[in-house]
């Protein structure tokens, strides 16, 4: 089965919500039940792809064959969009892109699944330590110790990640901004390191009518999703959609500028 990967770089804040709340934040983002990492459900992604297809002027009958109808399955399979790099605020530079061994191992497996690479060796890192190119590191209010002599091992990771980012200039920042921390530490940031905005509506006298707290994924979050085809040609169609316009909007708060991803398509046999 032929597959491709979509590298999805957030251009704006993304609010793919859970729709319910258990804590202080009224509208948290959706998270994976087991890992607690933010995620975009395959169904949301597929819906957004379908909408983009319709908007780009794709014929309705072709749309139906690719995405399916109530009584007929579509020609493509769409995975969840998984988290790859989380931007976290730092005192050395505006932010760092953090990731962890678990996420990289999953990426390595998924790259193999799509036939994009033979995978790469995943480094291990202890709690409280960070693998990165600089020395001292503050992420949010927490301090991390740098692990020495890991530069060689960072290279394949960086190479794999670079291919997922549409803009060259953005990708070139990986050198100084990529940080790998332990799974446990990462989970803490995935839970508490996301931007939370307070929003409200004002009446004519500028009195607040309501107030709610809303969590979102920050711009420059990097995610990826896999798409497979059940029938030849469906992926080609999907790909051509992004050729002229590489942007995809998904999730809530569209009209206040949220939900824009820059999409980079990765295919087998193509080195780009």
């Amino acid at each position: 089965m032929k597959g491709m990967m979509l590298g999805m770089l957030a251009e704006t804040n993304i609010h793919s919500g859970a729709g319910r709340s258990e804590g202080f934040v009224d509208l948290p983002v959706a998270r994976e039940a087991v890992t607690g990492y933010p995620v975009i459900a395959g169904s949301s992604l597929k819906g957004a792809l379908r909408d983009t297809a319709r908007e780009s002027g794709l014929d309705e009958s072709i749309c139906k064959s690719i995405f399916g109808t109530e009584d007929r399955a579509g020609d493509i399979l769409v995975s969840d969009a998984r988290l790859l790099l989380l931007p976290v605020r730092s005192l050395t530079g505006p932010y760092k892109w953090i990731t962890c061994p678990h996420i990289l191992e999953r990426l390595s497996r998924d790259l193999k699944l799509c036939g994009l690479s033979d995978g790469f060796e995943v480094v291990s890192v202890k709690k409280g330590e960070a693998i990165w190119s600089g020395d001292h590191l503050f992420l949010e209010e927490r301090e991390f110790r740098r692990v020495d002599g890991m530069d060689e091992k960072l290279k394949p990771v960086r190479a794999a990640l670079e291919k997922m980012i549409l803009h060259q200039k953005t990708a070139s920042r990986l050198d100084k901004q990529l940080v790998i921390i332990s799974d446990d530490d990462f989970q803490w940031f995935a839970s508490y390191g996301l931007p939370v905005a307070a929003r409200n509506r004002l009446d004519e006298n500028k009195k607040s009518k309501n107030l709610w707290y809303e969590e979102s994924l920050a711009p420059d979050t990097l995610m990826y999703a896999m798409v497979f085809e059940r029938r030849d040609g469906a992926l080609e169609r999907l790909k051509s959609m992004f050729q002229d316009n590489p942007y995809l909007q998904l999730g809530g708060n569209e009209t206040v500028g949220m939900g824009w991803f820059a999409v980079k398509i990765l295919e087998k046999g193509e080195g780009r």
């Binding site: 251009e11 704006t12 005192l91 503050f138 209010e141 927490r142 004002l202």
Partner: protein, 345 residues
């Protein structure tokens, strides 16, 4: 004197050196408390001063983000405009902070910004309250109020981001009748004035505002940009607009009024004569017939003219955000050729 400290014990003294000023301002002021007394009288002012030493934000990152936003806008048929603050501008005062008044920081850029939702609210109220635009049109452009069945508006409002690192300043508000404002007592002479310092964006800082049409909203984008311009100039954005804060002036009107006409380079003259020959505007020539433009450019013989024309073309693509992210293959090809020539010279 307050010492910055994170919430956890650390081995080294934290300093803000080119880091995220928002993180610093919010989390390293380690005196969070139930009331605002813990910083003391001078403490609030001192904490605000820790972010005034230099302009906040990373210039390269801001430029990159701006190129990306412009490219998103031009790919989606939207519009953008630069505005400059003509008064102090502050937003996010309602957020909690030991200094008493919070500040809205962009999460990854670490700079002040105006969220898309604020821009939308501002333009909506300007259009419906001041311009008295009819209800149907308001509903179409801004969507229906949440109470009703809820149609989605036809225009997307992006966050307004600063163009360069931002200069901040300390401002002071001095309410005289605190118990009255809190609804406890009528205003009276025996109430004491209480000076409260707060952080604001200084005058003269530039921001990029952008809108994108959503499903057939392209005509409405132009209308919305006109409203936005008026609203920013007259009504103001953010907090304390009733006392003159948050006013912005469009950069376009400013350049038209105060700058002498640009001196024309040989490249610009060549472009204009070519446009005339082809009976098109320079704009259309650059944006629609890039292949023809490239072919004509290849024919130029003088090296100096060729380079000057190249620079002119590059500038025009850059203002549209197309130079780094050409939306079509054909344009990409043309731009790659230009870049190649540029490297050779």
């Amino acid at each position: 004197m307050i010492t910055p400290r994170p919430l956890y014990r650390t081995t080294s003294e934290p300093v803000l050196s080119g880091g995220n000023a928002g993180l610093w301002y919010d989390k390293f002021c380690d005196v969070w408390n139930n009331d605002f007394s813990s910083l003391g009288d001078r403490g609030k002012q001192e904490w605000i001063e820790t972010v005034l030493n230099e302009d906040v934000g990373d210039a390269d990152l801001l430029t990159e983000m701006q190129e990306r936003v412009k490219s998103l806008i031009s790919n989606s048929g939207g519009k953008f405009m630069f505005f400059r603050t003509t008064a102090p501008f502050v937003t996010g005062l309602g957020r909690s902070h030991p200094v008493e008044n919070g500040f809205a920081w962009h999460h990854t850029l670490g700079v002040p910004y105006l969220p898309g939702s604020s821009v939308k609210g501002l333009v909506r109220s300007w259009a419906s309250i001041w311009k008295k635009v009819n209800g149907e049109e308001i509903k179409r452009i801004f969507g229906e109020e949440p109470e009703s069945s809820g149609g989605v508006g036809s225009v997307v409002f992006l966050d307004a981001l600063p163009r360069q690192p931002v200069k901040l300043k300390a401002e002071i508000m001095t309410p005289h009748y605190a118990p009255y404002y809190q609804g406890r007592e009528p205003p009276a002479d025996w109430h004491s004035p209480v000076p409260i310092p707060f952080l604001a964006v200084a005058e003269g800082q530039e921001f990029l505002f952008g809108v994108i049409p959503r499903k057939n909203g392209s005509e409405e984008c132009e209308k919305v940009m006109v409203w936005l311009k008026e609203a920013l100039e007259f009504a103001g954005a953010g907090a304390k607009t009733a006392v003159g804060y948050g006013r912005f002036l469009s950069q376009d009107t400013e350049t038209a009024e105060s700058k002498p006409p640009e001196t024309r380079t040989p490249g610009r003259e060549w472009l204009e004569s070519l446009a005339e020959e082809k009976r098109m505007s320079v704009e259309d020539l650059v944006n629609k017939s890039y292949k023809m433009l490239k072919d004509e450019w290849e024919k130029i013989e003088g090296q100096e003219l060729k380079l000057s024309a190249l620079q002119e073309i590059k500038r025009l693509y850059q203002t549209k955000g197309l130079w780094e992210n050409p939306p079509t293959k054909e344009l990409k090809k043309a731009i790659n050729r230009y870049k190649e020539y540029e490297r050779e010279k």
